[in-house]
């Protein structure tokens, strides 16, 4: 069995190796590492900086600029609600309020049991069939409160 540190270093090295010949590879590498580990632990970004000959501040600056990158482990489930205009026109504001109440957390938070993270996105490109909700990477259109409860109920 590999140690945690061993795994982490392996993941980072593999990601760097996979993009070694590409110009400007940092985003692609970060995506790879996050896909493997679920998030970007500090040790991973430190290792990355070393391997790519960048300063830690450079890597940190990139990680923090983009909403997708996270430095904490994700919850078991991620529920993301579209909050952009076309979904607003179909009731996204009410749906967000309902979701917060149903899950007992605010947007951006994880339920106390660590089970479900509620997040927001500005547009999934499903703007004719809103409100749109994504559950663990799967898109759902025309989600009203009842349907939201069904989707979240499925998780429990």
């Amino acid at each position: 069995m590999t140690t945690q540190a061993g795994t982490l270093a392996d993941v980072v090295s593999a990601a760097v190796a996979a993009h070694r010949d590409e110009p400007g590879p940092l985003l692609a590498i970060l995506h790879d590492v996050q896909r493997e580990l679920g998030y970007l632990p500090r040790e991973a970004t430190a290792l990355l900086a070393e391997e790519l000959n960048l300063s830690r501040a450079d890597v940190h600056g990139v990680v923090t600029f983009y909403r997708d990158f996270r430095d904490t482990p994700p919850a078991r489930r991620t529920v993301r609600i579209c909050r952009a205009e076309a979904c607003q026109a179909r009731g996204a504001r009410d749906l967000v309020a309902h979701a917060e109440q149903r899950l007992g957390v605010a947007v951006g938070e994880t339920t106390p049991d660590g089970g479900t993270e509620l997040d927001q996105v500005f547009c999934f490109g499903n703007c004719a069939l809103g409100p749109t909700v994504e559950v663990d990477g799967r898109l759902h259109g025309r989600v009203d409160a009842t349907r939201f409860d069904d989707l979240v109920g499925d998780l429990e």
Partner: protein, 543 residues
């Protein structure tokens, strides 16, 4: 012989159950059916829309749920038999046959990942025509077609290409597939439903300007589009469409897909280039323009997906054919995207010049809620909100600019009469605050202040003074921002104030008369400095 049934792979169709429909069909019929996962025809309110290949051509059904499949099969779906969900022969659906499909001609028709299907439906004709011409001639054709950038700014594609053509050395084609605007989804649909058209458009651009490497920068919110397009690239390589000597010609072109990471600003071209180089997506000051110094400092064509995907049709049918469509300086067609609270949401591709009202009422059928339409936002989060009084406006870059709006990427978001336009104006500022790259003060600080000021107006605190502050803020952002993020955020805000002034009166207050443009021009507008140095232009006061 198995029957061919089409069930879209489009993300919108899948969001309402297309995968389950496809699975049920296969479960019931096994090898008796060949299920093709096509792109969507664009009648999104009828998704999942299933089509069956019959002797009479394709017959459509929709919206089909997984639970409808058994009943449809019993009724004779595979023979194209009648059923309450039957929409008739696809080609005869008026909503579709009434459109002028140019860029989206193959959308929903072909198997997105079949090169044979692509060829059989006119694919590669544009590239072959281009390869038979000199690069200069290709640039001229694109210029003559009048094709303008569909990503937002509407800059003539041919003129941009000419600039890049005139530079020396290594050059890039970068396709902007960041599609962050709410209400827009045409880029996504094309990548999922007809990806080879984009590959072909980029090849033509490469030939025209002398580029050898291309990137597609795709937002991370579109994982299905990424998967389909990545496969399309592999297939294109295996058929000699990418790599060395494309189609046996002198053209060599390598194409890469890069995924964004959740930042709206990375749709702005210089921010996108920074991101492609692996950095924070901070805006670069222009000049130099990307056409001269773009990706890794090299001359770069940056074009939107739809711009590039239209080029094959321009080359295949000739510039004059394309330019014959449209109005004024807006030539050709636009892939309009009907969105929000709309009864018949989806793609309407038609020539520029159609009115906003025709799109919303005739094509869109008004609201989905059945309530009156109150406001329509055109052109994404940086676009203006218009009332029904402006529904006569023709879809035309200049006509929209004259009304302080923009056509942008062609997204049209409909709101019914329950909309609170002060909340929409507040959201425009909130969105700008959330998505600002942080490089300049008018945008970064101005948007945060904008939210606060609108909150005070809504709460009826010192309304007149705060309205004046808001107006000043808008002016500072318009004049002093480095890019159009901060520069255009005032469009939705000001349009809401101008056309929907009633909504800015707080609880319990008597609504003032509907503001005319003049009423909003408050006396004595001395811009209050907002935190930090906002640049000299911010001190100008107009009128």
């Amino acid at each position: 012989m198995s029957t061919t049934v089409y069930v879209p792979r489009d993300s919108a169709a899948r969001s309402v159950g297309a995968d389950e429909v496809a699975a049920r069909l296969v479960e019931r019929l096994g090898d008796d059916v060949r299920v093709v996962r096509n792109g969507s025809r664009g009648l999104l309110w009828l998704e999942p829309m299933v089509e069956v290949e019959t002797e009479r051509g394709r017959v459509a059904y929709g919206p089909v749920g997984a639970s409808d499949v058994d009943g449809l099969l019993d009724a004779g779906l595979l023979d194209g038999a009648g059923h309450e969900l039957c929409l008739g022969p696809t080609d005869e659906i008026p909503w579709l046959s009434g459109q002028q499909r140019v860029t989206f001609a193959r959308m929903g028709v072909v198997d997105p990942l079949s090169i044979d299907d692509y060829r059989a439906h006119g694919g590669l004709a544009g590239l072959r025509a281009a390869l038979a011409m000199t690069p200069e001639r290709v640039v001229q054709e694109v210029t003559d077609s009048g094709l303008r950038g569909r990503g937002g700014a509407g800059f003539p594609a041919g003129i941009k290409w000419k600039t890049v053509r005139e530079q020396d050395g290594l050059k890039y084609i970068c396709c902007n597939a960041d599609e962050g605007d709410s209400g827009t989804y045409a880029d996504r649909m094309l990548l999922e439903g007809d990806p080879f058209t984009l590959v072909e458009g980029m090849l033509i651009a490469a030939h025209a300007v002398g580029a050898t490497v291309g990137y597609v920068y795709l937002r991370s919110e579109y994982p299905a589009a990424a998967e389909t397009f990545r496969t399309a690239i592999e297939i294109a390589y295996s058929h000699g469409l990418l790599g060395q000597s494309v189609l046996g010609s002198d053209l060599s072109f390598d194409l890469h897909l890069r995924i964004g990471a959740g930042a709206y600003i990375c749709g702005e071209e210089t921010s996108m280039l920074e991101s492609l180089e692996g950095r924070r997506g901070e805006i670069r000051a222009k000049p130099p323009i990307p056409a001269v110094s773009g990706l890794f400092g090299r001359p770069t064509v940056v074009n939107n997906v739809i711009t590039l995907a239209t080029v094959p049709m321009v080359l295949a049918d000739g510039a004059a054919t394309y330019a014959a469509l449209g109005t004024g300086r807006s030539r050709g067609t636009q892939v309009f995207q009907l969105a929000g609270n709309i009864a018949r949401g989806g793609i309407v591709e038609t020539a520029f010049g159609i009115s906003l009202g025709e799109l919303v009422d005739d094509w869109g059928g008004g609201t989905a809620s059945g309530r009156p339409v109150r406001a329509v936002q055109v052109g994404g989060p940086l676009g203006a909100y218009f009332p029904e009084e402006l529904f006569h406006l023709p879809m035309d870059y200049e006509a929209f600019a004259a009304e302080d709006g923009l056509v942008g990427h062609g997204g049209i978001v409909v709101f019914d009469d329950t909309v609170d336009m002060a909340a929409q104006a507040r959201f425009a500022m909130e969105f700008c605050a959330e998505e600002s790259c942080g490089k300049c003060t008018p945008c970064r600080i101005g948007s945060v202040r904008g939210v606060e000021v609108i909150d005070r107006i809504i709460a009826d605190q010192d309304r007149d003074a705060n309205l004046a502050v808001l107006e000043d803020l808008c002016e500072v952002m318009t004049d002093g921002s480095l890019c159009a993020m901060g520069g255009l955020t005032p469009l939705p805000v000001r349009s809401a104030l101008k056309h929907f002034a009633d909504d800015f009166t707080g609880p319990g207050a008597t609504p003032p008369p509907r503001a005319t443009p003049d009423a909003m021009h408050l006396e004595d507008r001395h811009p209050k400095p907002i935190a930090g140095n906002v640049g000299t232009s911010s001190t100008e006061v107009s009128s």
